[in-house]
């Protein structure tokens, strides 16, 4: 209703105007009086709606564990780590930053860097969610499961707190293993939305991870028995004792994989490692990928059998070659290298088509087609791909068991520990469990038997020793169970190419946000942060 202004000039118009003004004013004042400026977000959950509520906090814990698994499930950062480890190679333009030789620095200014961003931010998404869940449970007195006289705080409450601490510890461990520095996450610092903290050097982060693991183990041991529902570690029910074993295996990883150089790795307390292995896992730990459950699929497993622009590195399969083709390849300049065919008695590597799904020992298959984008560097091309986890439905990455820590990994750590402790015959026996079925002659305390069929070989073509055999067997058997393990092993064994970062810088976007000076690693031969010559495998 709009009245002409002129009508208010007449007595009747003035009365009408007064009434209209009164009505509109009353309406405006009524709405204004009722208008509360404190508006909540109707679209998302916030701190107050998540961590004041037991069901939501449990969902936050589950989300935190998914965030933890994401880094090594995704192409970023698993593929760059595999490339750095010389297990996989790529001609794709997107990954040349990591595959190119000589190595170049990480482009840490890239907000979306496939390596530095994901291994930093995603572990903190996991740690922050777990930390706030822990704080929420304790400060808001949240109760999980049945509440009764015997369990006034809820029968499941202890297990939720232990799981929260477990995620914090696991995330801190990954950060300490992979980065030069990181933030420390604990369960003591009060409050939510933690945003200000200083970096700590990786040894301090590592100690915190180990302390959190020990605390979680102690809490679990004193807690009533429990089984985490299958939603926590998707598709896998985890008992209290199994969780404790997983944490012991993580303590083993902390000791074995944290060294940055071969000398540091040799100096690990291997006796303590052996002792702790006895308390470690007795079945593989991981989750089931399920297309119906978000954030469970594994692009990493799918990448293991890629064949277009991603394949197995020649340096991965090369030690198996008995034809000198690998040594010739190494002897050529980068500009003249091309993919090579190898010949080996190791039946895990086949030059003919393998039957899918794999039933026998074969798992690496020759591909005769040229890799895509070979123009980016023929020296990066390979003729082999891994098909162990390729199934006929070609949905391996979305319907499979996604391993995170395997019994096999622990076995090979045991083999290395035994070797380091000069118990070579015992180490050799562990290798032969997989080596002999693959058609290779058994190793002894002296290593692989010499001869034309010696596998593995050193880069100069001579027969490898027992330590070479441990490295070869571990890489061959574990791939593709954990991407970062290949990188961490290559670092400790001196197998990284010169100029490969020994650890990854804090992602540039975090440096920017926190106003720290920008830095990166790689490319240059920086003794503290990049691999050096001499190296076991020179370019």
């Amino acid at each position: 209703m709009t009245l002409p202004a002129s009508r208010s000039a007449t007595p009747r118009g003035r009365r009408t105007g007064a009434r209209a003004a009164l009505a509109a004013g009353a309406l405006a004042l009524t709405v204004g009086g009722c208008l509360d400026l404190d508006v909540t977000d109707p679209n998302n959950l916030g701190i107050n709606t998540v961590f004041n509520n037991a069901a939501n906090t449990e969902a936050a814990l589950i989300g935190s564990f998914k965030a933890y698994t994401l880094t090594m499930r995704g192409t970023c950062a698993s593929l760059p780590l595999e490339i750095y480890a010389n297990v996989q190679t790529s001609t794709a333009a997107a990954y040349l930053e990591f595959s190119q030789e000589p190595r170049i620095p990480i482009n840490n200014r890239d907000n979306l860097n496939c390596l530095s961003r994901y291994i930093f931010n995603q572990y903190y998404e996991a740690a922050a969610g777990a930390r706030e869940s822990f704080i929420g449970i304790t400060t808001n007195n949240l109760k999980f499961g049945t509440v009764n006289t015997a369990n006034p705080n809820g029968v499941d409450t202890p297990s939720r707190k232990i799981f929260a601490r477990f995620i914090i510890a696991a995330s801190q461990l990954q950060l300490a293993l992979l980065h030069d520095q990181a933030y420390i996450t604990d369960t003591i610092t009060p409050g939510f939305n933690q945003i200000v903290q200083d970096f700590s050097p990786w040894p301090e982060v590592l100690e915190n991870a180990k302390a959190q693991l020990r605390a979680a183990i102690a809490e679990a041991r004193s807690a009533p028995n429990f089984t985490l529902p299958t939603l926590f570690v998707n598709g896998v029910a985890v008992t209290r004792d199994e969780l404790v074993r997983v944490m012991y295996s993580m303590l083993v990883r902390a000791d074995v994989y944290s060294p940055r150089t071969p000398a540091q790795r040799a100096a690990v307390n291997w006796q303590a490692v052996l002792a702790r292995l006895d308390s470690g896992i007795v079945r593989d730990f991981g989750h089931i990928a399920d297309p119906a459950v978000a954030s469970t699929a594994s692009a990493y497993i799918t990448n293991s059998f890629a064949q277009n622009t991603v394949r197995l590195s020649n340096r991965f399969i090369g030690p198996a070659d008995t034809s000198q083709n690998y040594q010739n390849w190494l002897g050529r300049t980068i500009a003249t290298r091309n993919s090579i065919q190898i010949f080996t008695p190791d039946r895990r590597i086949s030059n003919t088509t393998l039957t899918i799904p794999i039933t026998g020992p074969g798992r690496i298959q020759r591909v005769t087609s040229t890799m895509g984008s070979a123009a980016n560097g023929a020296y990066l091309t390979s003729q082999y791909r891994h098909v162990r986890y390729l199934n006929q439905a070609a949905d391996s990455g979305s319907r499979t068991f996604v391993p995170m820590i395997t019994v096999a990994e622990m076995k090979f750590i045991r083999a290395e520990a035994l070797f380091r402790l000069n118990r070579r015959a015992e180490a050799a026996a562990l290798l032969n469990e997989t080596r002999v079925p693959a058609g290779l002659r058994p190793v002894t305390a002296d290593g692989p038997p010499a001869g034309r069929d010696c596998v593995p070989r050193k880069d100069d073509g001579t027969c490898g020793d027992l330590f070479d055999a441990i490295q070869y067997e571990k890489r061959m058997e574990l791939f593709p169970s954990s991407a970062e393990i290949n990188y961490l092993d290559a670092r400790g064994w001196g197998r990284l190419l010169p100029g490969t970062p020994l650890h990854i810088p804090v992602v540039g976007r975090e440096l920017i946000t926190r106003r720290f000076d920008f830095y990166t690693f790689g490319g240059t031969e920086d003794a503290q942060n990049s691999a050096q010559l001499p190296n076991a495998h020179r370019p």
Binding site: L35, D38, I104, R509
Partner: protein, 651 residues
């Protein structure tokens, strides 16, 4: 209601220009569409005509406006006014691909769609109510206007979208036929309470002042920063009204100055931390809210001079300076928080602009010939006074204290041998500079022309231990090995100008408007995109002698596969646009009697053309692309050319 089906603009451009989109298919795959669906034998892009043909996307919009107002004037100098407004907008959109519709696959074949339907419903409602008390009084030569307004505002936006895929049947556009359905909704609620006081003062109609104070409570901010104060003060002095003013030929000579503080609001979700369910029992994190977010306060000062000379020539000269504090920047959230991003207020930006307008009659012939001209020109300066965080690159901009936001920053391809890595200091002879100006690796005894003659294209070359693709451009790196990064251009023009000419002779009218700029750069992202995809005309080597031919991978490398902003793609933005041209003629019944016979007193014919042409040396698609601070031509739909004819008949 509107059909909004629109194929990608890139597809139009990527299909070779000599491809006939209307080539008849010998065996049409789809009834009703007679043309070839993949018309380009080189690329696999869908015929845009086919995209348009199968698209069944419809938008329906509706709007409801209600207003109630009233004024009560108890005296001649005082009034109370109230105003209530209700505004509702409805926007419904459906996007539909019927099951069975053949779609182009990655290998160029056709595969039937499983069907998809997306239905989006958005409703926004707004209510604004104001009550204003006004006082207007003249005391001698002094005139006062004082008003006090209370304002209440509430806006809600409600959106619901449902997507159905994998249809179980054909021929029915109904969500019930989809076997997989997902739904998402969002709701925003924005509320404001305000108090506005304004005072207008005029003395002898030559000293004029205007003042405004606004106190506002806003739900987009946390409790600590919810209430804010803004205002404006301005003054003007009409010197030409002074008895002592000596320049009597000036009818108007006015000095004016204003100072104002305004505020800019953040988005609805900026203050809230966001966590949400992934739909399968887990809660994941999104953005970290900022409960302490404040408005962006912009202080603007304007100093101006308005003149009119002998009622024939008028002009204004204005200098504007503005400074924005607490500018919103979406930054990565600190990693330890576990969130991805956060909106913060760290920045302070500034700028100034000087504007000149001149308007006058060049010709005013008593016989009816008249020619009026309006000339506009402006020059702007931008600065980033503070960014409140470590410098970082943000697309084409380098966000850093003291770096103007208009500057372009990026990387470059080596174009001078001195830019080669130090390791090549003694082997520069192994590189050559090709006809594109790039330094390329060629090896001993070769030149860049030998690629085909010596079969060198596609090979690698190792120089000083560094591997290169023969003949391909090389990104420039610093001595540390990281990519070189620096200023590569500036979006700010030296001058922007406009010229409007209005001719009239009797019943004939002619109007032409031209706009343009001198200097400044435009980033030709369109060129870079098509270099990377191999669709740029430069990639075609037809007609070139062999020694000049280069492979597609060369152009991919020259564009760094479209991954970086490269200096080579920065071009001059100087241009002249013929923005509008109008020719009109009026037939008057007094002269053209036949009009009277058909009942008209007058008939007016106008022909209007807009965006008729752009003159420049720019080689990309759109020299006018981008925003004033970031001039980037990113292969989006360019400004369209329109031709309009208007006939106006007066009874």
């Amino acid at each position: 209601m509107q059909d909004v089906s629109a194929p990608s603009f890139n597809n139009f451009y990527r299909i070779d220009t000599d491809v006939n989109l209307r080539e008849l298919a010998p065996f049409p795959a789809v009834n009703g569409f007679p043309y070839v669906i993949v018309p380009d034998s080189v690329t696999l892009y869908t015929n845009p005509l086919y995209s348009q043909y199968i698209g069944d996307n419809v938008v329906t919009r509706g709007r409801t406006l209600l207003n109630a107002n009233g004024v009560y004037r108890p005296t001649s100098w005082f009034s109370i006014a109230a105003d209530a407004n209700y505004d509702r907008g409805d926007n419904n959109q459906t996007t539909y691909t019927p099951r069975g519709t053949p779609l182009v696959t990655g290998t160029g074949g056709l595969s039937p769609s499983l069907g998809s339907l997306r239905v989006e419903n958005a409703t926004n409602e707004g209510f604004i109510g104001t009550v204003t008390g006004s006082l207007s009084k003249s005391i001698g030569d002094l005139t006062l206007r004082l008003s006090q307004r209370g304002e209440v505002r509430k806006e809600t936006n409600n959106e619901l979208a449902t997507t159905g895929t994998q249809f179980g049947t054909e021929g029915l556009k109904a969500m019930s036929q989809a076997t997989v359905r997902t739904t998402a909704n969002s709701l925003t609620d924005y509320r404001v309470l305000g108090s506005i006081t304004s005072l207008g003062v005029s003395f002898k109609e030559r000293y004029i002042g205007d003042f405004l104070l606004r106190r506002e409570g806003n739900s987009l901010f946390g409790a600590a920063n919810r209430w804010n104060t803004f205002g404006r003060a301005s003054a003007a002095w009409l010197l030409s009204e002074e008895s002592w003013f000596p320049l009597t030929d000036f009818n108007v000579f006015k000095l004016r100055y204003s100072y104002g503080v305004t505020g800019l609001n953040p988005g609805f979700s900026s203050q809230y931390e966001s966590m949400t369910s992934d739909g399968t029992g887990a809660i994941r994190r999104g953005s970290l809210g900022n409960i302490n977010i404040t408005p962006t306060f912009t202080v603007e000062e304007e100093l101006g001079l308005d003149v009119a000379y002998k009622s024939r020539l008028s002009g204004t000269l204005t200098f504007v300076r503005n400074r924005s504090e607490d500018v919103f920047v979406s930054v990565p959230a600190p990693a330890v928080s576990g969130y991805q991003t956060q909106v913060t207020n760290p920045a302070q930006l500034g700028g100034s602009i000087i504007e000149l307008t001149l308007q006058g009659a060049i010709l005013a012939n008593p016989k009816g010939l008249r020619w009026d001209v309006l000339l506009t020109a402006d020059k702007a300066w931008f600065s980033t006074e503070r960014f409140g965080r470590t410098c970082f690159d943000d697309g084409l901009q380098f966000k850093c204290d003291g770096v103007p936001v208009s500057e372009m920053w990026g990387n470059m391809i080596i174009e001078d041998k001195s830019q080669l890595p130090a390791v090549h200091a003694n082997s520069q002879a192994l590189f050559d500079i090709n006809d594109d100006g790039y330094v390329v690796p060629v090896g001993a005894g070769n030149t860049w022309r030998d690629g085909i003659a010596k079969s060198l294209w596609g090979t690698n070359i190792n120089i000083d231990g560094v591997n290169y693709r023969w003949g391909h451009p090389i990104p420039r790196r610093t001595p540390d090995g990281v990519l070189w990064y620096g200023k590569i251009g500036d979006s700010r023009p030296d001058l922007r100008y406009g010229l409007q000419n209005n001719f009239r002779y009797g019943n004939l009218r002619f109007y032409v408007q031209m706009n343009g700029q001198l200097g400044g750069n435009v980033y030709a992202k369109s060129n870079q995109t098509y270099y990377a995809s191999g669709d740029h005309p430069d990639v075609s080597q037809a007609g070139k002698p062999d020694e000049l031919k280069k492979p597609v991978s060369y152009y991919n490398a020259a564009s760094n596969n479209n991954n970086l902003y490269l200096k080579r793609f920065v071009q001059s933005g100087t241009h002249l646009q013929l923005a509008e041209l109008m020719v009109g003629y009026t037939l008057d019944a007094s002269r053209f009697r036949f009009l009277e016979r058909v009942g008209f007193s007058r008939a007016q014919f106008d022909f209007i053309g807009r965006n008729l042409g752009v003159f420049s040396n720019y080689t990309g698609l759109n020299v006018m692309g981008g925003s004033p601070t970031v001039r980037i031509d990113d292969a989006t739909y360019p400004q369209t050319r329109t031709l309009t004819g208007v006939i106006t008949l007066t009874f």
